[in-house]
């Protein structure tokens, strides 16, 4: 346990007045306050140090004791036995809000690990900083649930990503943000998902949409075609006289519903009828024949 030079921490001389201590403390507090330094562990430590220095030096009784024993603090235990006992009593009666991490071992040893009386009641507990992270995935990745390991601020976080997560969806992982201060709760981790779609399917919620080109003859006479769905090919019967841009719904062939196992959206197919081009003479003749029949 090392001696802590509180004067050095506040950057003041040993003869500093109360006003000078206050000014120095305020200046440093403005620099290292946790609200102004989110996710900055070094600033958090520094803020604790300057708080501790201020607690000691701005209290005349504590400052006197600190100045008297200073580096010889180990021998100062007999400083005031009665005071020590009174402190221990205070400790036993339980100041529940007190966090032992709040002060250094040096402070605890010298002042009994309690908040000086003048400062009681002002016990700022800070919730840790909320962290934000972004995770890019492909649409194919989020068709099934999967595990990922994310590194946020040097910490590895194992993540289960349920199938069907939406583009832009944010999930909150409680307590995985910055560490709380003075016994405050940890912050939360917010992960925003960006889902890139490089497939032929358009996704809207749980439904998928796909355009299928249909040749003129199949659209008129009907037939059977094979189309791709997200999880494999399926055969489709085309009704005779199928119109351009008509739609069919394949129930349950869409995207998984988020956090509902076994539930899927639909796949909506739109037929685009392809007019034949580069016709040969025979074809033109036959179409003319058809035209004659139709106009009779």
């Amino acid at each position: 346990m090392a001696f802590i030079d509180y004067y050095k921490i506040l950057g003041i001389s040993k003869t500093a007045t109360v006003k000078e201590i206050k000014t120095a403390y305020r200046k440093l507090a403005r620099k290292y306050h946790p609200d102004l330094n989110p996710e900055n562990k070094e600033a958090e430590i520094k803020f604790k140090e300057i708080n501790e220095a201020n607690e000691v030096l701005s209290d005349p009784e504590n400052r006197k004791k600190y100045d008297k024993y200073g580096k010889d603090w180990k021998h100062g235990e007999a400083y005031d036995t009665a005071q020590q006992q009174s402190r221990q009593t205070h400790h036993r009666t339980g100041n529940q809000d007190f966090s032992n991490d709040e002060y250094s071992d040096f402070f605890e040893s010298m002042f009994g690990g309690r908040r000086p009386s003048y400062n009681q009641g002002r016990s700022p507990k800070y919730k840790g900083q909320d962290y934000n992270a972004e995770l890019k995935l492909n649409l194919k990745d989020v068709y099934t649930s999967q595990q990922q390991v994310l590194t946020v601020n040097g910490k590895k976080i194992r993540l289960s990503i349920p199938a069907g997560i939406e583009n832009g969806q944010v999930i909150k992982i409680k307590g995985k943000g910055g560490e709380g201060m003075n016994g405050g709760p940890n912050g939360d981790l917010y992960i925003k998902f960006t889902v890139d779609n490089h497939t032929q399917f358009k996704r809207e919620g749980n439904n998928l949409y796909s355009n299928i080109d249909l040749d003129l003859y199949t659209s008129i006479l009907g037939g059977e075609i094979t189309i791709d769905t997200f999880n494999g090919a399926v055969k489709l019967n085309i009704k005779p006289e199928t119109k351009n841009e008509s739609k069919v719904k394949l129930k349950g062939k869409g995207f998984p519903v988020y956090k509902k196992e076994g539930a899927f959206g639909d796949l909506i197919i739109t037929y685009h009828i392809q007019i034949p081009t580069n016709l040969n003479e025979k074809e033109i003749e036959l179409f003319k024949e058809l035209q004659k029949i139709k106009t009779k």
Partner: protein
């Protein structure tokens, strides 16, 4: 009918030991939004963490409201930059693991 998660400014003032004029000033500065329902003022629960930060900055560091506004804007910029950095690091990690 769903209940809105609103908290009366009177309750907030008594809980945080602040004046109602302070909450009004924050509202005028655009630092928090107040909703008025049946002539009573309310603050949405999502704004409570901001309110707590404002109180700490104001009382512990003597930052005036204009200063807090500047601080919040700069912190928001910093947050966006941090997010961008995190996203880039994650993306880089994905490539590195390939």
């Amino acid at each position: 009918m769903t209940k809105k998660p609103l908290i009366s400014t009177q309750i907030l003032c008594s809980h945080y030991n602040i004046e109602i004029s302070f909450v009004d000033a924050l509202n005028k500065m655009g630092l928090i939004e107040i909703e008025i329902i049946k002539q009573e003022q309310f603050v949405h629960q999502d704004q409570i963490s901001d309110l707590e930060r404002i109180i700490r900055l104001h009382h512990e560091l003597n930052v005036n409201l204009e200063g807090i506004d500047v601080v919040f804007n700069l912190l928001e910029k910093e947050r966006k930059l941090r997010n961008e950095l995190n996203a880039l690091k994650n993306r880089l990690r994905l490539y590195e693991n390939e």
